[in-house]
Symmetry: C2
Subunit: 357 residues, 2 copies
């Protein structure tokens, strides 16, 4: 019998994934040229489905990379001459900051302890920061930053570029792309696919910045997947290098399935399942939600504190349910439960029943 | 009915691919954590199979990236402080050179016309070049450089790092990794997989160079997939970021299948099919081999000159065989026929029969 994966990515595959994969194999999508009309049609279809799902306007292009981690590097290369600014409250927002430092940028940081979140009112963006780097969902600690706070911050600093890491939450956060310049995610989280594809959304302001930086001799914007090259090829729904054609096809089909359900319903279902999980944790004597402030509790990665996480994980596994361990040193005191669209309300209820035992 | 793809990548899937994919789906490989023992076992298995297949010694690590194009960037970032040297005779060796320039390196070039190849005796490596960049198989023109020439050149310049792009030929070229410091390929060519995974082989000399460069303030070695980070995680068969777990699994299984046949046999079969194709072109009145010098004719991507390539491609397609167009402006005068392990001697014979009509 198959297990149900409640892990925060790689995660449970979307229920229709196997069917779409079979169609792709039947249609030999793995063999088609990335310079063919068939591929351009696939890219266009996936672009359209993601645009509908995430309400992405024509000002923004949608590009494919090898992973979301790669985008951390690309967005800094292409949008920062000297200074970036990072909100850091966990391992992944920390890595984003580390990447900027590795690229020799002056990477300002405003840090909060693991488990705490950010509100717009907390934040002063340094004067010369060119790019504000926000993490919608800190996968390591289960903390979210509300889109309303992101939008408010951008309104306060309209001249700075804003990029949102929504790796472990997209398509849940309802970002207003008239304010957010760039965002990115990977497909092995809430899209229910295997890992191996990053999606990078960026607007013309990012492009203009990248084009300006490319002319400077003092810095490099990188060579692979530069924004100007991605954008140029995007005009005809192509890519500069051979992309993961199969996964781009599959992402389009899953986004289409989510659009059939409707993004509002997908978001409501996510909130309903999160409510069930947090209520269980609140009521339990053995578990409690790690994130105290309700407004900062992630809707897609629920982190619980418990005395014997290894026991919890082991007994859930015996019941065919795989839940995630706490991140890094929190392995000994936490479990992480992913709440992605691939798991149903019934499956979440089964997990809760199991945890109650 | 399914087509047979003789395209130079993406290409025909390896005959066992669908079976391995089904096993992977049954075993939920798409959902497992990249921090689990199950993943470490997969990485180790694929590493061992590739080591056997390509005779890679313990001095070299094997790493995974999003694509081979990404490795063009990584190897320059990690192995070049100021100067690289490139042999350029087609579009892909040119792109390797372009990448080095984009990273603001002084990228020396020795160029030959499209369709011509390099011998060791031709080549003077500039005194301060740190990395010598060779392309085993120029996919655009169907020109190969013989490993013997690569080895001879390295012996002449033993202190320089040598990297070989074997994107569209691995596992065909029999590289001597006691001489070649680094090599890389992608899986959608001769390994018969869908695109979306690059494989980077690099030795301790490359690592030592990267570690030295990381200490300099004047240059960056990049942030994502730096060689020291890849190497550090490789010690426990992990990766710094979430990799394409599914494709790493599939690559290991296909490498195992090729090892069962035996690399000598795989290489002999490749040569036999190439011999059949070139003999047909030599004997034909309508086609001729584009590459004149026999020693420079690619064994894996056969390029033919013909008056009406569009007609050739269309009639082959009607017979269920997809062949590649000439690269870029050579679309109007050439076709490209991939000769990868996924197509059998019988299938090559069927193609020749069709082209004879």
């Amino acid at each position: 019998m198959k297990n149900t994966y409640f892990t925060p990515g790689p995660a449970e595959l979307y229920p229709s994934f196997a069917r779409h994969l079979q169609t792709a194999m039947d249609e030999q999508i793995g063999s088609i040229s990335h310079r063919s009309q068939r591929f351009r049609d696939i890219y266009k279809f996936t672009d359209e489905q993601l645009r509908t799902l995430l309400t992405i306007p024509a000002t923004h292009g949608i590009f494919f990379t090898g992973s979301a981690s790669e985008v951390w590097e690309r967005v800094v290369f292409n949008c920062v001459e000297h200074e970036s600014f990072h909100l850091v409250n966990g391992s992944f927002s920390q890595k984003f900051h580390d990447y900027a430092q590795s690229l020799h940028k002056y990477a300002h940081v405003f840090e909060k302890p693991f488990g705490e979140g950010f509100d717009a009112t907390d934040i002063e963006v340094p004067e010369y920061a060119e790019l504000v780097c926000l993490t919608h969902n800190e996968t390591s600690s289960g903390v979210q930053m509300r889109p309303a706070d992101m939008h408010k911050l951008k309104r306060k600093y309209p001249k700075k570029l804003f990029v949102v890491d929504m790796v472990s939450s997209a398509p849940y956060p309802n970002l207003d792309f008239s304010l957010i310049d760039s965002a990115f995610f990977s497909v092995q989280k809430a899209f229910g696919m295997p890992a191996g594809l990053g999606v990078w959304i960026a607007n013309q302001a990012c492009l203009a910045k990248a084009e300006r930086l490319q002319k400077y001799e003092s810095i490099t914007t990188g060579a692979h997947h530069t924004l100007p090259t991605l954008w140029k090829h995007y005009q005809t729904f192509e890519t500069p290098a051979t992309p993961n054609v199969l996964y781009i096809y599959l992402l389009g089909k899953i986004a289409e399935d989510l659009n059939r359900i409707g993004i509002d319903t997908v978001r409501k279902q996510t909130e309903e399942k999160a409510r069930m999980l947090y209520k269980f944790l609140d009521d339990s004597s053995r578990y409690k939600p790690f994130v105290e402030a309700e407004r900062h509790r992630s809707q897609t990665v629920v982190v619980a504190t418990t005395k014997n996480p290894a026991d919890t994980i082991a007994s859930a596994k015996q019941a065919g349910m795989i839940i995630g361990s706490g991140y890094g040193s929190f392995k000994d005191s936490q479990v992480r439960i992913a709440n992605f669209p691939a798991v149903s309300i019934d499956q979440v209820q089964l997990l809760i029943n199991e945890l109650k035992k």
